[in-house]
Symmetry: C2
Subunit: 252 residues, 2 copies
C-alpha cells in the first residue's frame, strides 16, 4: 500500500494533488521544486520537507513528477528506483526512464491552486507498467476519486487533444465574444446564461443534436452579415472555417 509520497514540482497540479492526498491521510514527504517560494509554501501546507535538489529526496513509496512535459525524461533519470508517476496527458508512460515500476495519473480537468473543484467528479486516466502497480495506483486514487479509468498512452493523447478542443477552444470562443462586445461597451454578462446553458445541454445529449445557429440552418445571409461585422482578421478566418465545416458536415 502506498503511504508516503513525494512531489517534483510545486505548480497547480502538484499543489492540488499534494493537498488532496494530504487531506486523506497520505503522508506527503517531500516537495522538490526549483521555485523556492511556491515549493516552501506548498511543503508547509502539507507538512512536508522542501528541497531544491532531487538528490536530497527522503525515502518514500512513490514519486509524482508534476513538471512541464519536456522535463519528465530528464527528471525521471535522476530519481531513485521507486514507483514513479507523471501526470501529463500528452506524454507516454515510456518517458519515465530506468524504473521498474511506473505509472501515469492524468486528471481530465484544468486544476488550479486557488480554485476548488469537486474531486470526486474528476475523471482520472491511469496507466501502469504492470498489474501490481496498477492495483496500487488504483487503491491510492480511490481515496480521492470515484471516477478512475484505465487508459493507455495513445488513447490518453487523444483524450488530451479532445480536452484542449472542448475546453481551451471553447474558452477562446468566449474570449472572442467578450472582445467583440467590449469594443462597443456592451456587457459580456448578457452572454453568460447562454454560455452556461450551452454547456449544460451537452451533459445530457449528444453535442450534434444541440447545434443551432446560422451555419447549422444554412442561413448564408446572416453568415455574410456577421463576417462583414468582424474586424479582426483571424477572428474572421475562425468564423469562416467553423461555419464552412458545419455547412459541409450537415449537407444533405
Amino acid at each position: 500500500m502506498i503511504k508516503k509520497i513525494s512531489f517534483i514540482g510545486s505548480g497547480n497540479v502538484a499543489s492540488v494533488f499534494a493537498e488532496k492526498f494530504s487531506s486523506v491521510n497520505i503522508d506527503v514527504i517531500n516537495i522538490i521544486s526549483r521555485n523556492q517560494k511556491t515549493g516552501k509554501e506548498l511543503a508547509q501546507k502539507v507538512n512536508a520537507k522542501y528541497y531544491k535538489s532531487i538528490r536530497k529526496l527522503d525515502e518514500c513509496d512513490m514519486i509524482f513528477i508534476c513538471t512541464n512535459d519536456d522535463n519528465i525524461v530528464k527528471i525521471s533519470e535522476e530519481l531513485p528506483d521507486v514507483l514513479v508517476a507523471h501526470t501529463s496527458g500528452n506524454t507516454s508512460i515510456s518517458s519515465i526512464k530506468g524504473k521498474k515500476r511506473k505509472a501515469v495519473i492524468y486528471p481530465i480537468q484544468s486544476l488550479s491552486k486557488n480554485e476548488k473543484v469537486s474531486f470526486n467528479e474528476i475523471p482520472f486516466c491511469i496507466e501502469a507498467s504492470d498489474l501490481e502497480t496498477k492495483a496500487k495506483i488504483h487503491e491510492l486514487l480511490s481515496k480521492i476519486s470515484k471516477n478512475i479509468h484505465t487508459i493507455n498512452s495513445s488513447e490518453r493523447k487523444l483524450i488530451h487533444m479532445s480536452a484542449v478542443i472542448v475546453s481551451n477552444f471553447s474558452n477562446f470562443c468566449y474570449i472572442m465574444g467578450y472582445e467583440i462586445l467590449k469594443e462597443k461597451n456592451i456587457s459580456f454578462d448578457l452572454l453568460k446564461p447562454l454560455i452556461q446553458h450551452t454547456a449544460e445541454k451537452n451533459l445530457n445529449r449528444e453535442p450534434k443534436k444541440n447545434l443551432t445557429g446560422p451555419a447549422a440552418r444554412k442561413d448564408f445571409k446572416t453568415i455574410k452579415e456577421h463576417l462583414a461585422l468582424i474586424d479582426n482578421k483571424n477572428y474572421k478566418k475562425i468564423y469562416k472555417i467553423i461555419s464552412k465545416t458545419i455547412i459541409d458536415k450537415y449537407e444533405k
Copy 2:
C-alpha cells in the same frame, strides 16, 4: 397595457413565448402558422384560436412575428396597424413595415419547445419605435423576466453574432471532441466535467484569464503532435487557426 397578444409562427420561439405569457395571464388570442400541426397544438395549449392565414387575425393589442428572419418584412406588410414586434437578433427594427408602433424583443438564449429554461435569467434585448411603446413592452416583459436591456438594432446584431460565437461555436468544439473520441470508442463522458467547469469559470472571471493549454503556453511540440493526430482536414484547419490566433494574441 398590453393584455391580448397574437403570434405569427409556431416554432420554438413562438411556443416558448406564447406558453410563458399565457402562464402569467396574458391572453393569447391567435396562433397563425402555415404549419397546421404545430400551429393547432400550440393554440390548444395556450387556449388560442389557430388560423392558417394572417387575414383572419382577431383583434389584439400586439402581434409577435416569430418566423424566419427572411419573412419578417413580407409578413409585417400584411399585418394590421397594431403594435408589431419581431424576436430576431440579426434583423433591424426597420424590417417591420408600415406600422406606427413597432418593437423588437430578442431573448439571448436558444429556446426550444421541449426544454425548460429559467426565464427570469434570460437577458432580453428590447427596442421600440417610440418611448410609449417601449414602456408598454417593458411592462409586458417584466412579467416574465427581470433581465431587460434597451439595445438598438446595430448593437443587437453584434450581440447576436457574439452569441453565435460563444454558443454555436463552442458547441461545435464539443462536437469535434465527441467525434475524435468516438472514432476510438472512448466515452465523451470523460470530458463532461471539464466542459462544465470551463463554462462555469467564465461566469466569474474574464475569459482571457481562464485560458490554458498548449497554445496559451506556446507549447509548439504538443500542438504539432496534436495536429498529426487529427485526420479530418477541416478540424485540422480549425485547430491550426485557433492555436495561431492564441499564440499571436498573447505574444510577448
